[in-house]
């Protein structure tokens, strides 16, 4: 018997899960609130550690969408439970009966302007990691004009209780180092400084990325969090931090500062939680049934979770979770049938 699976969120997790669920013989219905599938990935340029093009990854992911119903520019209006079914109403007026729902709603990028001291939206030459990827994609950002000194601030809105995110966003260190190398390739004469608290290059080949950044690209790493940024009379950025390894304050004037905005819980999480009964952790991410053993199941029957909705993840981890979720949904249907 064919069953409907509603997948909310058309990022990498949603797309991959939809394909797998289809392969298991069910009917996936994928909705994405934005105009195009791909989520944050669609806005990125290249991925660490090897600089793989996101365009290629996305093309591969969406190459085979046959048998998947998908809607873009579509959001959820309501979800109601009817015995073993969920009835969901979409913003485009469509109503769907689903046997299971997969939340692949991902994360929200931390709004960098919340870290007022870094002056995003106030100083002309402060951009975010996402802005920089946009620049890599389009080659166009009025704030980036042949910079001679470039800074990368790690952990913007991550590991920062005052910014509301205690957790590490996991991907920013590697992203920053990747972006630093890319900037050095574009601007070989630029001096580039990365300000980090701990450099978490945890994955395979990430350390190579770091080593390359040091040895091949000559990128300088400063262990210390940027405390404040101001503009000097020429409109350049005066950046202050402590060089904790030297045990001294450090000041540097820069032409461009890139803020590595972290992964915040999706801003719609509280609303979804109240609609569906999914448990939300105190950090704002959804809690799976068991972090170790059942990472893709929620506490509500028939509702599943995949990707960054349960915490910061890399793309491969997200895709694996999507596959795991598809399998868990299939198992759920099998058990129901028995």
């Amino acid at each position: 018997m064919k069953r409907n699976v509603l997948i909310i969120g058309g990022g990498p997790a949603g797309i991959e899960a939809a394909r797998r669920i289809r392969d298991y013989g069910h009917t996936p219905i994928l909705i994405e609130k934005e105009a195009r599938l791909g989520g944050h990935l669609a806005k990125w340029h290249k991925l660490f550690p090897d600089g793989e093009s996101t365009e290629e990854v996305l093309t591969a992911l969406t190459s085979d969408m046959e048998g998947i119903k998908w809607f873009t520019d579509t959001a959820i209006v309501s979800i109601n439970r009817l015995k073993h079914l969920y009835v969901a109403i979409f913003s485009n007026g469509i109503t769907v009966q689903a046997d299971a729902i997969l939340f692949a709603t991902g994360f929200s990028l931390f709004p960098a302007e919340k870290k007022e001291e870094y002056g995003y939206g106030i100083y002309n030459n402060v951009v975010t990691n996402a802005d920089l990827e946009h620049f890599f994609n389009t080659g166009n950002d009025p704030r980036i004009k042949d910079p001679k000194v470039i800074g990368f601030v790690h952990c913007v809105g991550s590991r920062d209780e005052k910014a509301g995110n205690r957790q590490c966003s996991k991907v920013c260190c590697a992203t920053a180092v990747k972006q630093a190398c890319e900037m050095k390739e574009r601007y070989p004469d630029a001096s580039i400084y990365c300000f980090y608290m701990d450099l978490r290059m945890f994955g395979r080949k990430y350390e190579d990325l770091y080593l390359n950044a040091q040895r091949k690209y000559g990128i300088f790493f400063v262990r210390g969090r940027v405390s404040e940024v101001s503009e000097d009379i020429e409109g350049r950025l005066v950046v202050k931090a402590e060089d904790t390894l030297a045990g001294k304050p450090l000041r540097i004037t820069m032409d461009l500062l890139v803020l590595m905005a972290g992964m915040s819980p999706c801003i719609e999480n509280p609303e979804i939680a109240s609609m569906t009964g999914i448990h939300m952790g105190e950090d704002g991410f959804f809690m799976p049934r068991d972090l170790m053993l059942r990472p893709v199941e929620s506490h509500s029957k028939g509702i599943f979770l995949a990707g960054a909705v349960t915490g910061p993840k890399t793309i491969p981890e997200t895709l694996n979770e999507a596959r795991a979720a598809a399998m868990a949904i299939d198992n759920y249907f099998k058990q129901k049938a028995e």
Binding site: E113, E116, Y120, G121, I122
Partner: protein
Amino acid sequence: MIFQGKQKIWSDYQKEIPDDHWFYVRSCIRQGFFPGSEVAFLDIVRNKLDKDFFETEHHTTCGGIAYHAEALPQETMMTIIARQFALMAEHGYENYVCSCITSFGLYTEVLEDWRTFPDLEDKIREHLWNSCKRELKKPKYLAHASDIIYKFRNEIAARAKHRLVNKFTGEPLRVVEHIGCHYSKMFPSKGVGGAEYPYVLAGMIDSWGGEVIDYPERRHCCGFGFRQYLVKANRGYSMSNTYKKFESMEPYKPDMIITNCPGCPYFMDRWQYVIAEQTGKTYGENGYGIPVFTYEEVAGLVLGYDPWDLGLQLHQVAVEPLLDKMGVKYNKEDKYKGKGDKLLQMPEFPMNIKCC
């Protein structure tokens, strides 16, 4: 600089400031440093703006200096503050305004502490009762006196005799605003405009026609720092912080500095003299320093008060060049005249910084 970005932040940090009926407490040191300021404040709010500002001779120090110099335990400091609040309530007020930033910071801190640790509040209530037989009642609104001037900045602007405009060039005066650290750095939401881009003084400058200078070390402490200044051996450190600020603002050629803290104007004013005597360096035009004012003094000048009535003769850095720019009339001979036109002693002129 993206002005809209700042405006957005300012709009995020708005503070409710009631119009009227305030219990006013003075600062311990400001009366010595800038005796004209508090008088001018009360005169402005009572007589120009017709507001009810009550003060009692029974209020004491908040204990801030001793507390920050680690000479006073926290509970003692809190009991002193509880007594101030009790005084306010006894006189039928619920809006508390203080003249001192240190006090403001401490009041904010204490109220936050009591909010977080209600047991502590109960304990202090008991202490207060045991020691003074007074009943603690917390204020409904807490403000710093600069919040009040900020609130009425447009009314003041409407009655302005002089604006912060260079009358020779017609250009706005370039004004450095310096906010006391304890105004909003500890509790950004308690200050107008937050901690990173406070608006309390910038708002006054905007309203009165000046141009705010945003220089790299704008956020930096004046260097007072209690223990740094109080111990002579540490004074070089205190001065170095002021020096850092002046070095940073120098390229912007500021005409004046406005502050809202007791220590900052004093140190930024006096250290200019010491720096000049030690290094020969001055930061104003033609060998003068950059005059440093309290916001009350500036409000007074804008409203047309006599500069010597505002106590500007007690500044180390000569204020006359600025008065000339603003078009403020003053009588040179009256500068060092005290009460009843009695000539006070003339100070000696320093070697390296020009004075009038």
